[in-house]
């Protein structure tokens, strides 16, 4: 058997190797391949370090309906609020708008609570709810002013969306909606065109880096049809012509407690912790038609990154990507000369494969400094 090292079809040298020479060549190939690959992986991970683009997270959570029989909309919003807080976004970065006070409604048999599961398993009102816009302050005008930042100077900071061009914003809307509109407070509506224009204003004023828009209403998909600004991802609980259904009533309270889509969204989010690597594709699968009866929809064509590479915590959590390192990292040339130690190859293989499995977030979170290849190989 002839083994030729070719370069561009020109035989550089051809050898009639013996068995041990074959092994050596195989190892060298693997070496070079892994080294280049590791270099790429490093640059990928390093690239990813700066590629998610955002440095802070904001959430705007809006419940647009009032009256006791719309208890479930307030419960929806509060359960998303709870998840978002649990995953790290502080109250100073959350704008919570609730159109009615269910916890202190005269008809609430358990005052100061809002339950999302029947038999009163989960009180989403909790002890430290901070509602920024309450009651009649939740209007279309206020919502649009919050988004676009055109608030009078006297508005307190807790009522402002002080986002910048590195903010990832989560916007969650729930209430009663229809084809192309969302009803606020039983007296006015916001249309999908208005919403799209508000987002465009936000883009032009560089008020967001990426925006995730979730809406849980009837015919919710119509609300994101008109978006045209970049870096928007949208999810809705039902398509045009479908109704979003409520999940379960509680017989002691006498109302429906949650909507189906948000119920399953809450279940999904309960499994997310700040270091999860669950990505958006799994979020799109929340509440399939068998559970939700309506067909949830999503829109990612305006989003520049691949949704499979977007973490849930990019929007729902406030994950700090902090890494202190004493060494300089020269990222422009990932390739470094390696001592050619053949008896370390197995070790290399083993370590490299393991390293490949360890997720980036863990590395970032737990590993105090980025390990270079030569640190891993004690043999060098």
């Amino acid at each position: 058997m002839l083994l030729c090292l070719t370069d561009g079809g020109i035989a550089l040298f051809c050898v009639n190797p013996t068995s041990w020479q074959i092994i050596v060549f195989i190892y060298i190939y693997i070496y070079i391949y892994i080294y280049i690959y590791m270099g790429n992986v490093h640059s990928d991970k390093a690239g990813q370090f700066f590629n998610s683009g955002h440095t802070n997270n904001w959430a705007v959570l809006v419940c647009t309906s009032r009256f006791w029989f719309n208890y479930r909309h307030v419960a929806n919003t509060l359960s998303v609020y709870r998840s978002v807080k649990r995953l790290g976004i502080p109250d100073s970065r959350i704008v919570l708008m609730l159109a009615d006070d269910m916890a202190c409604n005269h008809r609430n048999p358990k005052p100061a609570t809002v339950f999302s599961h029947k038999n009163m398993e989960l009180n989403v009102y909790g002890d430290d709810v901070e509602v920024d816009y309450r009651g009649y302050e939740v209007t279309v005008e206020n919502f649009l002013r919050v988004l676009t930042g055109r608030l009078p100077a006297s508005t307190p900071r807790s009522k402002r969306l002080l986002s910048d061009d590195r903010s990832n914003i989560l916007i969650y809307l729930t209430g009663h909606g229809g084809n192309g509109f969302l009803k606020f407070q039983d007296s006015e509506e916001i249309s999908n065109v208005e919403l799209a224009d508000a987002f465009e204003q936000m883009w032009q004023k560089r008020r967001y880096n990426e925006l995730l828009f979730i809406i849980d209403t009837c015919q919710g998909a119509s609300m994101y049809e008109r978006f045209y600004s970049p870096n928007l991802m949208a999810l809705a609980s039902s398509q045009v012509g479908e109704d979003s259904l409520s999940h379960q009533p509680d017989l002691a309270i006498g109302v429906h407690l949650m909507d189906r889509y948000t119920f399953y969204l809450l279940e999904f989010l309960e499994d997310i912790h700040p270091s999860s690597t669950t990505n958006m594709n799994q979020l799109f699968k929340v509440c399939p038609k068998s559970q939700c009866v309506s067909t949830p929809g999503h829109r990612t064509d305006l989003f520049l990154r691949d949704p499979g590479r977007v973490l849930i915590t990019d929007f729902f959590g406030s994950v700090r990507k902090v890494e202190i390192t004493m060494e300089t990292i020269n990222l422009s040339s990932p390739m470094e000369p390696l001592p050619e130690r053949i008896n370390c190859t197995v070790h290399i293989l083993y370590m490299c494969i393991n390293k490949h499995i360890i997720p980036t977030a863990i590395i970032m979170y737990y590993v105090p400094r980025q390990k270079l290849l030569r640190d891993v190989f004690p043999c060098t």
Binding site: F69, C104, N105, H106, R107, N108, P109, P249, L251, G254
Partner: protein, 614 residues
């Protein structure tokens, strides 16, 4: 050119109208009756459904536990009632206060225009007792009412017992957003009228009552409970109120929804529900139920204590417990739970019930016919009157010329205003006499005849009614000269249009009354002329007159209730119906008696005049 502006086409249209008038009228009449009968046919009706979003579905958990204790309270109430011989005011006040309500009383008194022989009362004095359960956290802007009447004898004790039991249970709950007023009224409707007038600061019927010390805000809904047995086999819902007004259909839907949920048999008009709408007996059952509702609505009287609330735009219904010979019995706890569920759902209301229909007919508790579906039946009957009026107009505008002996063509003189006005005025004066004289002249009648006051009033009314039949002969003595062909036509035109407007307005407010009057008066109005055979048509006219319509309605009503009466009993019932009608008008402001006496009867007299036109 257009259909009506082209003279040729207009002439053709008019020709067709005049030639085919009688056949078209016949067809319209039969179509109207057929449409009405078809309303009870199940595929033409709609299933009832909850329209109010705030009331949602029946997803509350009813937890009322104390049915037995409520019955014991009812027995205590009965004992105290027997001891005091009337309303045990002190005991009620103490009991309600013990349950944590704010208790107030109201005294009232009323002298009836003449003694009521059905309920055996003349000078009525009584006390209403009511307790207000204040909503724990809500402002006192809205209220709900639960009432039970304090009836003489052994009736409705259990109703008061359940009322007090529910009061105790409701008091320990914190989810009430409206005040709940628990009312025990004495002398049923008179007490209720006094309480409502006191609550709303109105005084429309001349009753004497003490002002209410405690108030609860504007009343959103009210239920009146009548229960005279410890166990019930079914619960009957009574909807018809004063002047044929009905509560919002959502209240009936709410009742039915809870009956379904809890598993209690619920009926309306006392008729059990049936599933076999495609058989003749099933259809006739539905027709019977609907006819009962029509007759009750046409009588314009409140058929339960709830009937008086409707005038104040408070949706109210009466729930009657019925204990018949069925094997499956429902106990007091279940009845209490049903009421608890209904009140919890009414508690969720944010506005008065207004989403569902206010005008409807119910062939059964699960099916209804709305105004849009039943009005064409009346419209077809009213069309007959309009066709007749058009026909007369055409005849009047092209009078047949008469040639005199000289060969000169003379157009007959148009009738003088006096010859039209006189019958009108005299008929209406007779109507006024029918309205005022019976009550005013009762002393006179009692002096001269061996009758009681009630009988005097009723018999005077009938006498005046019959005396009106002799009028045409007297009217013509007043008129100078003889009436002309034109004369009666003009009078008939006026009368037909008058009847059309009258029936139309009546049907809008009280469809049943308008329809029943139309059924008998419209054929009369269409076919009466001076040229029909006099005796036969006189008999027919008398049979179709409002007074005899009422007599037939009484017999028919008894048949539908499955308690047919003999002629003698029927006649006595008829007399008592007339007296009740007059009393209803005096006590509660029912409009049937003034409508019949002041408007319908004179209209009928006009046609009587036309029949005997000379």
């Amino acid at each position: 050119m257009g259909l009506l502006s082209d003279p040729n086409r207009r002439r053709a249209l008019i020709g067709m109208l005049t030639r085919l008038n009688a056949p078209i009228c016949m067809i319209c009449y039969m179509a109207g009756v057929a449409w009405f009968m078809g309303l009870a046919f199940e595929p033409f009706t709609l299933r009832t459904y909850m329209s109010e979003n705030a009331m949602g579905s029946t997803m509350v958990e009813e937890r009322f536990p104390a049915g037995e204790r409520a019955l014991a309270t009812g027995r205590e109430f009965a004992a105290h009632k027997k001891k005091t011989g009337g309303m045990p005011v002190d005991w009620l006040v103490r009991t309600m206060q013990a349950r944590g309500l704010e208790v107030y009383t109201q005294r009232f008194s009323r002298k009836l225009p003449f003694p009521d022989e059905d309920k055996e009362r003349y000078m009525v004095k009584g006390t209403n007792v009511y307790g207000i359960l204040r909503a724990p956290r809500a402002p006192r802007t809205e209220a709900l009412v639960l009432s039970a009447p304090c009836s003489p004898g052994n009736e409705n004790n259990q109703a008061v017992g359940i009322l007090l039991g529910l009061a105790q249970y409701f008091r320990s709950q914190i989810y009430w957003a409206k005040d709940i007023i628990f009312l025990v009224n004495e002398h049923d409707l008179i007490g209720m009228q006094a309480w409502l007038e006191g609550y709303h600061h109105t005084n429309t019927t001349g009753m004497d009552w003490s002002p209410l010390q405690g108030r609860g805000g504007s009343i959103q809904a009210a239920l009146s409970l009548e229960l005279s047995s410890d166990v019930v086999t079914s619960l009957d819902l009574v909807l018809e109120g004063l002047n044929g007004q009905l509560p919002n259909l959502d209240l009936a839907n709410l009742f039915y929804a809870f009956c379904q949920k809890i598993g209690v048999l619920c009926t309306t008009q006392g008729k059990l529900p049936r599933n076999d709408w495609d058989t003749t007996s099933g259809y006739s059952h539905a027709v019977q139920t609907m006819m009962l509702m029509v007759l009750k609505q046409a009588s314009s009287r409140p058929w339960g204590d709830h009937g008086l609330f409707l005038r104040y735009h408070i949706e109210a219904a009466s729930i009657k417990g019925v204990n018949s010979f069925r094997p499956y019995k429902t106990d007091a706890t279940t009845v209490g739970r049903l009421l608890e569920g209904m009140y919890r759902k009414l508690n969720n209301l944010l506005e008065r019930l207004h989403q569902s229909y206010f005008f409807y007919l119910m062939p059964s508790l699960t099916r209804f016919v709305s105004i849009g579906y039943y009005m064409p039946a009346f419209g077809l009957l009213a069309l007959i009157l309009l066709l007749r009026a058009l026909d007369l107009w055409v005849q009047l505008s092209s009078p047949p010329t008469r040639t005199t002996e000289d060969g000169v063509e003379v157009v007959p003189a148009s009738p003088g205003v006096l010859s039209i006005l006189t019958p009108l005025v005299i008929s209406h004066l007779t109507g006024v006499a029918l309205y005022t004289l019976p009550v005013l002249s009762q002393e006179l009648a009692v002096e001269h005849f061996p009758v009681s006051e009630t009988e005097a009033v009723v018999l005077t009314a009938i006498a005046i009614y019959t005396a009106g039949l002799a009028l045409p002969h007297n009217t013509h003595r007043l008129l100078a000269g003889e009436g002309t062909e034109q004369g009666w036509k003009v009078l008939k035109l006026v009368a037909v249009l008058y009847l059309a407007v009258l029936l139309g307005c009546t049907a809008l407010i009280n469809f049943s009354l308008g329809f029943i009057l139309a059924l008998t008066l419209v054929p009369l109005a269409a076919f009466i002329t001076p040229h029909v055979p006099k005796t036969l048509s006189a008999v027919v006219m008398v049979i179709l007159s409002p007074g005899l319509t009422l007599l037939f309605a009484v017999f028919f009503f008894q048949e539908l209730q499955e308690t047919p009466v003999t002629l003698q009993e029927g006649w006595m019932l008829y007399l008592s119906v007339i007296s009740q009608g007059i009393l209803d008008h005096a006590l509660y402001g029912s409009l049937l008696y003034p409508l019949a006496a002041l408007l319908v009867y004179p209209c009928w007299l006009l046609f009587w005049n036309i029949l005997f036109w000379k």
